[in-house]
Symmetry: C2
Subunit: 458 residues, 2 copies
């Protein structure tokens, strides 16, 4: 490995110069005004993949932004790893809160500041440069690699699943490495092995054909806000926080003793956690720790509620209807479509005869993702981390959802390894995004070791 | 009575001309642009009272609009009736929905159309003309009368209680006649003998110092919307609709058998009632009829609720706080201040330790009003109605609140008789307000008979 690590050192300055060029193109996918920048960035990625020595490099058009693909399949008999990242970035508003220009990479105190440094240009760039280092020095990689870099991650990867479906053969692999997540800390290296899924709905309870005077009609007909409150309370037990939708937990992969042991190792203090959020205390599903509650257990949350008079002062109105946005975070192996149906059926079944209950399902549902800690890819990642960080990794599950991960797993039928080098203070999606230089450099080494180890374990 | 009734007939045309002049002044108390019209209208009322033959007629300034007062105290040994009405009117928007000019009294099909015809210029004008008829024809009235006409009823009678407090001696009387309500129908004459009181509050439940990501934190801390729903459900029993605030019913004057019998006589059909409101069915406090629930029983209603994401589409937010407007309609002898305190104490006591609960009390609380059906004033009103309408009146309780009624009762220590000649289809506070000519004329006779009868019964 000395040749590879030496190559990283020798080319460090050039890497940062090229990364700064990558970052300088404001590829904000949410803003149609930046469409040209998206095209420019896709071409930049294409050039990087070609320069790294990949074959079959090509921009694949989609209904949205192009997917850039490249591959190197010269490792006969060795497994194939699909490497994923994205070239689009979040908007930068409010610009006034940025201490350095958002698209001018500024290095200060060992940190690279700019939009996209951590999410995800700086991380996907690690993949480019690992490939380059191997192919320049050895003319070969330890494993076969396929690289896919999309341009719509920040707007929900709208067209990626379709692309993957249409190109299953092209993308077939043994494992997927996703370079788009965080570690717990520089001295707390970690691998994300689970993400939660999601189903999101809007419920409405209607009792009247129009708002009425609460003096004239109050007491004579059902109040839809009251009924909605009653129905929401029947969705989650106030004491145990158990979701009360029948069948909700049926498909949940239970937490094993070993896994709970791993999760218990993660440094965490409930009191500090609550204090940081301004909460009086933590609160959640009975029988589980905060780490488990946020990563490994499904939830039912009300994301919003409204009905009747919500303005200033007094209005003596009996509302005609009341509404709420509700969502459920899911874990493996819950099916978002099935869970949505269970909820809809249950919600309608508990509606009293005094009201009409409606439910609308939004289309951004996603499966949870879970990669066993004992899987070959996870083992390879753990060894790689140990070699670079001189520590065993923590194993974490993220509470949020990256639907594309589950899409990859389901469409390609393989495990996803979330090996990311971001840190919790990177200001993702916020002003002053940064990536630590030390994490960028450790990333180059860790991904290299991962490929070496993966060739062995698989 | 022939002299009086003949006088009404002979002067009918003049009455309508004068009423049209009264109505033509757009005395909208809610709109400061109409301040001059308020002054003009107060002067018009002053002239009417003087022309009717009252003494001591005067505009009394308040912090807001003047109160016009006049009296005739020549009936030695007879009781004194305080007659109340208001000269201000509601705004007229949206003007485009008016079929005739809002301030041009238009008579069509036996109805007078214009803002203020029913609420309340047309009704208070009845009082002026009854007095005029007696004093012109007989130089005396059957009882002593005091007349008070205010100009802020449509904006909450802000300064009236203060005026009454300062002028208790001036206003001292045996009964108050309020000409500002409806009857059930032309062929269903009725007297309102009860109004509900009100206390209105805003509650807030806070669990975090800011909105958070529902993926990252969902399941680890209390969801304030969920907690608010749980707390609201504890305020009213979902099955019986009984308010669960301890002590809430303690001071309620129970419905007696005779009173329930009177209320049961009121024509009412639950199915039609529900259908008109677009409700699947009526629903309310167990053991009471719809008429009783809306008029004679206290309620707890949620007037509004909000928290978290209330816009379009999906936002996976864990809200920091949730809010609701709640109000309680009260009946005699509930004290709004005491009830508000009971609610605040209870609401805070049921807040789980995961949240901070706050309650804000609005200052528009008011006592309920209740005049016994057997009281002398009610009896006199019933006889008067029978003489004019050839039917016994129905006795109704209104679900809404007119705080000034309770203020009068409490400050002056006498009963209030709500003898109004409006009809349910008068479009109060709406475009195309009207008053039926037949009701206006019946009002003149009925108030005259009331004064005659009150002189006998008291």
């Amino acid at each position: 490995m000395k040749d590879i690590l030496d190559y990283f050192k020798a080319n460090d300055e050039r890497y940062l110069t090229e990364l700064a060029q990558f970052i300088a193109i404001p590829s904000i996918s949410a803003d149609p005004a930046h469409r040209k920048d998206i095209t420019k960035t896709a071409s930049f990625v294409e050039k990087q993949l070609k320069a790294a020595g990949l074959k079959n490099v090509k921009q694949h058009p989609t209904k949205g932004n192009p997917v850039v693909y490249g591959e190197w399949l010269g490792a006969k008999g060795a497994p194939t790893v699909l490497l994923y990242g994205h070239y689009d970035v979040q908007p930068v508003e409010p610009v006034s809160l940025w201490k350095t220009p958002p698209f001018e990479m500024t290095i200060k105190g060992g940190k690279m500041f700019a939009r996209g440094t951590a999410d995800d240009k700086g991380q996907v760039f690690i993949l480019f440069k690992v490939i380059e280092a191997y192919l320049k020095n050895r003319k070969q990689l330890p494993v076969n690699v396929k690289v896919i870099v999309e341009g719509e991650e920040e707007v929900g990867s709208t067209n990626l699943a379709e692309f993957v479906k249409k190109n299953r053969a092209l993308l077939s692999c043994d494992s997927i490495l996703i370079a788009d997540t965080n570690m717990l800390g520089k001295d707390k290296p970690s691998i994300t092995y689970g993400l939660r899924g999601l189903t999101y709905l809007e419920v409405s309870v209607t009792s009247l054909n129009g708002d009425q005077h609460s003096g004239t009609y109050g007491g004579a007909v059902a109040n839809p806000v009251q009924v909605l409150a009653e129905m929401l309370v029947q969705c989650k037990d106030p004491k145990t926080s158990k979701v009360k939708i029948p069948g909700f937990y049926d498909d949940v992969v239970p937490l094993g003793r070993k896994e709970r042991g791993e999760l218990a190792k993660i440094p965490h203090n409930d009191e500090h956690y609550a204090k940081r959020l301004g909460a009086t205390m933590t609160f959640g599903e009975k029988g589980y720790s905060t780490i488990e509650r946020t990563g490994a257990r499904p939830t039912f949350e009300i994301n919003g509620i409204w009905g009747g008079h919500t303005g200033e002062g007094v209005k003596t109105v009996l509302p005609a209807s009341a509404h709420a946005k509700v969502s459920m975070r899911l874990v493996a192996n819950q099916d978002p479509g099935k869970i949505a149906k269970l909820f809809i059926d249950y919600f309608k079944s508990i509606a009293p005869p005094t009201v009409k209950a409606d439910v609308k399902l939004f289309d951004n549902n996603g499966y949870a993702a879970l990669t066993p800690i004992e899987s070959p890819g996870m083992k390879a990642a753990a060894v790689a981390i140990k070699k670079v960080y001189k520590k065993d990794p923590f194993y974490t599950r993220e509470g949020g959802s990256i639907p594309v991960v589950a899409d990859f797993q389901q469409l390609l039928g393989v495990d996803a390894i979330l090996l990311g080098f971001g840190l919790p203070d990177d200001n993702l999606h916020a002003p002053n995004e940064k990536m630590d230089l030390s994490q960028f450099r450790a990333g180059l080494a860790t991904v290299s070791y991962f490929l070496e180890e993966y060739a062995k374990v698989k």
